[in-house]
């Protein structure tokens, strides 16, 4: 029994690897191999890899290296994200814990949450101009909204029986919040941190596409203007990888902080 199942797993792994290789080969064939597509419509994989390596150090054509663009984007994204989380988590908890506030603030919040982060770019650019601040504010809003949603539902999902245990031991409202509701909401809060990071990163790229002088979004927008599709693809790959790395960092922190596994 054991070997057969093992073998079946490897077979599918092989199929996956094969499928990716075939994909890359077709991509190469269609571009360099048969020259069906010119480089400014679909660059070949070889060209994309070359650009990837060169761009890390080369400032041409948009005046900054890939590394500088990446750092600029990270600085904006993480700045807005951290403040957004710091404001969003307590706000979400407070909204969920106090019924009166919940009923008052909830409808307003439901209206605001449907506005995509990118829409705020125009408002912020008009208020404070293109620079760092306008994009940081846009990121702050989108991260805060995501944090409020998740902390709010984390607190609301606290099991009543856990609250009852606290109450019968005579716990004060503060005890119930800090020793029962918040620890029980922790896993959801970390899901929120992950989601907020994703939405911050996406909103940043959008903001940079619209109005910026540096950053990954700026880089791919500039490259598109001069039909440097290889830089566009390199930019997209770096955006994707950075997003994935940031997300796994948050999950690792979460696994260490949230003890005892998920709610039983």
């Amino acid at each position: 029994m054991k070997k057969k199942q093992g073998a079946r797993m490897d077979k599918y792994l092989l199929v996956s690897v094969l499928s990716v290789c075939v994909g890359i080969f077709v991509w190469w064939l269609v571009t360099d191999g048969l020259g069906l597509f010119r480089s400014n419509v679909l660059p070949s994989p070889v060209k994309v890899c070359q650009t990837f390596l060169k761009k890390w150090v080369e400032a041409r054509p948009d005046g900054a290296t890939l590394l500088q663009h990446l750092m600029a984007s990270l600085k904006v994204a993480l700045g807005g994200y951290l403040i957004g989380a710091l404001v969003g988590i307590p706000l979400g908890i407070f909204m969920a814990w106090n019924d009166k506030v919940d009923m008052l603030v909830r409808p307003v919040f439901d209206l605001v949450r449907t506005i995509p982060g990118v829409a705020w770019t125009s408002v912020m650019v008009t208020l404070v101009g293109i620079g760092y601040m306008s994009k940081a504010l846009v990121i702050f809003i989108s991260a805060m909204v995501a944090m409020v949603i998740n902390s709010y539902s984390g607190i609301k999902q606290t099991k009543t029986v856990h609250l009852w245990v606290g109450q019968t031991f005579g716990a004060s409202n503060w005890d119930l919040l800090t020793r029962v509701a918040i620890p029980s909401a922790l896993p959801m809060i970390f899901t929120g941190l992950d989601v907020a990071l994703g939405s911050a990163w996406t909103t940043l790229v959008a903001a940079e596409l619209l109005a910026s002088t540096r950053g990954l979004g700026f880089m791919i927008q500039q490259a598109r203007g001069i039909f440097r599709l290889d830089i566009v693809i390199v930019g997209m790959v770096v955006i994707a990888i950075t997003g994935a790395i940031l997300s796994s960092i948050i999950r690792k922190i979460g696994d260490r902080v949230v003890k005892g596994g998920r709610l039983r």
């Binding site: 099991k159 009852w164 109450q167 019968t168 031991f169 029980s184 922790l186 005892g260 596994g261």
Partner: protein, 248 residues
Amino acid sequence: MEKKEPKVVVNHLTKKFGDLLVLDDLNFEVQEGEFLCIVGPTGCGKTTFLNSLTRLYEPTAGEILVNGIPVDPKKQDISYIFQEYSSFPWLTVEQNVRFGLEIKRVPKEEADASVEEMLDIVGLTKFRSYYPSQLSISMLQRVAIARAFATKPELLLMDEPYGQLDIDLRFKLEDELLKLWKKTGTTVLFITHNIEEAVYLSQNIMVLTNKPTSVKTVLHNPLPLPRDVMSQEFVDLRNQVTDLIKWW
């Protein structure tokens, strides 16, 4: 035994959800250190009854006195073991057992001693740093019981804690509970659907009616401890209670 002041006195306890009457004018007394089992037909508002006793549900009318003063979990040591598994998944076994003591701000040495004692009695000392997600169902119930007894409660409420366990495990945990009860002298109110369990544990059995719930009668259980589930007197008492409840 001369008439001591009863531990718990309940007068005209009534509970309504909107216009649905659930508890209908309950009146009874529970003596100090008594083990009272509460039985009743399925779905007769037994949980609402216990929740109203501890003010988790605000009673619509009536008063509940513990040691002569209105019941208040903040001032009095009351513990409640719920039917649902209620150990905190983010706390280890030891931290779970210590939870009540920390809420009541019990000084450290006294709390430590009580935690060690409880872990030892329920046999979870080896598992002190495990998390609930790593434990079996019966061990989880033991954590809840240890946590409840750790604060040396004057009044312990239990809502069918052994409902889901195998027969063997249930007998073992029931014996363990009787041992703890004798050792701490706590007054216990134990809800159950299982009449055999009620006769096995109780000094008195309170039989509730169908909805809207009221007290049908209170039977005294004269059988000496430890009881033989298959002895004729045991079976006779069990038949008597079953006939009071049998609604089908």
